[in-house]
Amino acid sequence: MADTNFIPATGASEDAVNTFDAYGAGAVERMGKAEKVLDVQDLSVTLFTEDGALPALQGVSFVMRKGETLAVVGESGCGKSMTALALMGQLPTPPARIVGGHINFGSTDLAALTRDQMREHRGSSLGMIFQEPMTSLNPVMKAGRQIREGILVHNPQMSKADADARALEMIKLVGIPAPQKVFNSYPHELSGGMRQRVMIAMALACEPKILICDEPTTALDVTIQAQILQLIDRMREELGTAVLLITHDMGVVSEMADWVLVMYTGHVIEYATAYNIFHHPQHPYTQGLIASIPDVNAVTEDDLYAIPGNVPMLSDLPSGCPFHPRCPFARQECAERKPSMASVPGDEYHQVACWKIIENWGE
């Protein structure tokens, strides 16, 4: 039988971990206590294409809390961007459509709103920043006016002068040097990092409760990436915004997230605190994902662990557990029955969809 050593243990010893970790026992204690801002239940999205219906999201559930960051990780095509678009009511329809589940924001179910009703929430309750700031800014409009535009839409009674003042205040808040100059600049005159700061200023101008960041730093250099991540984290703390961070970079997750949602082929396969994801990952996919990253602190020269096989196509999902063809622990039942999310024994906040854990196969 396969044993746990199949997937290499992930580097750092426990002692080193406790010294350097951002999440002490106190932080773990506080988890799950903050006010719920968004409660997503059983969200399913299907793409109705010419070649048939493809299940892009299947039964995705999670909670976002005030002032906390939830990171959604997974490889391309796992449904992380689809999740963000569903929350924002910006699914490309057709072909995508929400076919089940609820997105509870306070007492409203965002999944049930019409396009016009959703427009009131977008920008004011939910803000979003995208991967490529150049393509999401209007190239023929000055940065300040683009920020002002959103403020005016959601505050029709506000005067333009007041909106300008608010926009300038936001530019200052996101740490742009020479705010007046940037206010009067066109996007092409700004660097990538500055454009992303303008995007953040725009997304936060109406003080949304939720900020959705879809790969906010993938297009930026490492030093600028760190500046932007630091800014998002500072805004979360100062404004109490709940942040949904979509990324494929586990290092970024580790430095930013309070909670982590690991996705695979449109399913949530593990949902836990960031501390547990990195120190006690349960799902074989999560373990493999962490083990396949080259570690800067590592001393070994060994080959990297690579998860065998490839991510299946949505049109050709395996039966049972979607990960079973690549899983080193898979048994017959994994191919027959699909596991649903269940709490890991002893930790109600650590959920995993894996028969090995649910049925406690042991070693």
């Binding site: 350097f20 970790d21 951002a22 990092g193 990253i293 080259p294 570690d295 800067v296 990297l304 690579a306």
Partner: protein, 333 residues
């Protein structure tokens, strides 16, 4: 540069680059006269030995890709010399150039745009052979293609398929197969894994390492991802705004970084199980424009240790400890 050669157990030098400079003209005005220059690469020197992985790291616009392309002469360097196997490469023309070029190949970053969508996998891999015309018969050529496909882990059934049928990782394998089919001595890998997902990235890195062991390839590995560089390299060069900042063995560079820029880079890379991003020390400001680089040390605008001297005087490259080079006034005697 001889001292670096000596420290690496006397392995044969495959590539020697010295004083490489590339400036792109900016043209403007009515008659398109030159109104300025982009200083892409400024005085870069290094050597690469047989079987060695030499990495170039830096942020975008630092000149790492331009350096790679100048070495291959995909763009002509403005000044400097590139010696391949001890032979000057920059002066070659015509057939001599074609012949020598077989020794150097390139793996591209984007596996989606670097494969011709109208050619089958077999033909893509065979293209360098066809151009060189080294096999007399079709059978020999096909046998070589199949042999290479097996080496990089591609199913032989894929031979007559087209690139769009493959995932990013498999396409990158096709690109690698094409690069090594002529048994080059040096492969320039320009961000070969940055477009790939982590689990696929791990497979491609393992493949590159395996091919290096089997074929004794030397790699010039261009990347912005320091954790990948740490994993794969023997020697690392850090570039900033076209200048060489620091050059050392991997152990030295990651264990004992000297240049303030290298230290800043190592501080900011996102690490698993490290401190929260808020508590990090992060380099402020943006990379200056290469059209109008700062006077003196190009890093002085962001350097926490900058002095008046840094603003006026360009630091020379010093060998601080054997094999560890750094261009910074802090390490001047």
């Amino acid at each position: 540069m001889s001292s670096v050669a000596e420290t690496t157990n006397g392995a044969r030098v495959v590539l020697e680059v010295s004083g490489l400079v590339k400036r792109f003209p900016i043209k403007g005005g009515l008659v398109r006269h030159e109104i300025g220059q982009v200083h892409a690469v400024e005085d870069v020197s290094f050597v690469v030995h047989e079987g060695e992985t030499f990495s170039i790291v830096g942020e975008s616009g630092c000149g790492k890709s331009t350096t790679g392309k100048c070495v291959l002469r995909l763009i002509e360097p403005t000044a400097g010399s590139v010696k391949l196997d001890g032979k000057e490469f920059t002066q070659l023309t015509g057939e001599d150039l074609t012949r020598e070029r077989r020794k150097m190949t390139l793996i591209f970053q984007d596996p989606y745009s670097s494969l011709n969508p109208r050619m089958t996998v077999g033909d893509i891999i065979a293209e360098p052979i066809d151009i060189a015309g080294i096999y007399a018969t079709r059978e020999e050529r096909d046998a070589r293609v199949e042999q290479i496909m097996e080496e990089v882990g591609l199913d032989l059934a894929f031979k007559n398929r087209y690139p769009h049928e493959f995932s990013g990782g498999q396409r990158q394998r096709i690109g690698i197969a094409r690069a090594i089919v002529m048994q080059p001595e040096l492969v320039i890998c320009d961000e070969p894994v940055s477009a790939l997902d982590v689990s696929v990235q791990a497979k491609v890195i393992n493949l590159l390492k395996q091919l290096q062991r089997e074929m004794g390839l030397a790699y010039v590995f261009i990347s912005h991802d320091l954790s990948v560089v740490k994993h794969i390299s023997d020697t690392v060069m850090v570039m900033y705004l076209g200048h060489e900042m620091e050059l050392a063995s991997k152990e030295e560079l990651f264990g004992n970084p000297l240049h303030p820029y290298t230290k800043a880079l190592l501080d900011v890379i996102p690490r698993i199980r490290s401190e929260r991003v808020q508590d990090k020390r992060i380099l402020e400001g943006d990379v200056p424009s290469p059209t109008n680089p700062p006077a003196g040390c190009c890093f002085h605008t962001r350097c926490p240790f900058a002095t008046d001297r840094c603003k006026s005087e360009v630091p020379a490259k010093h060998e601080v400890t054997p094999g560890h080079f750094c261009s910074c006034h802090l390490y001047d005697e």
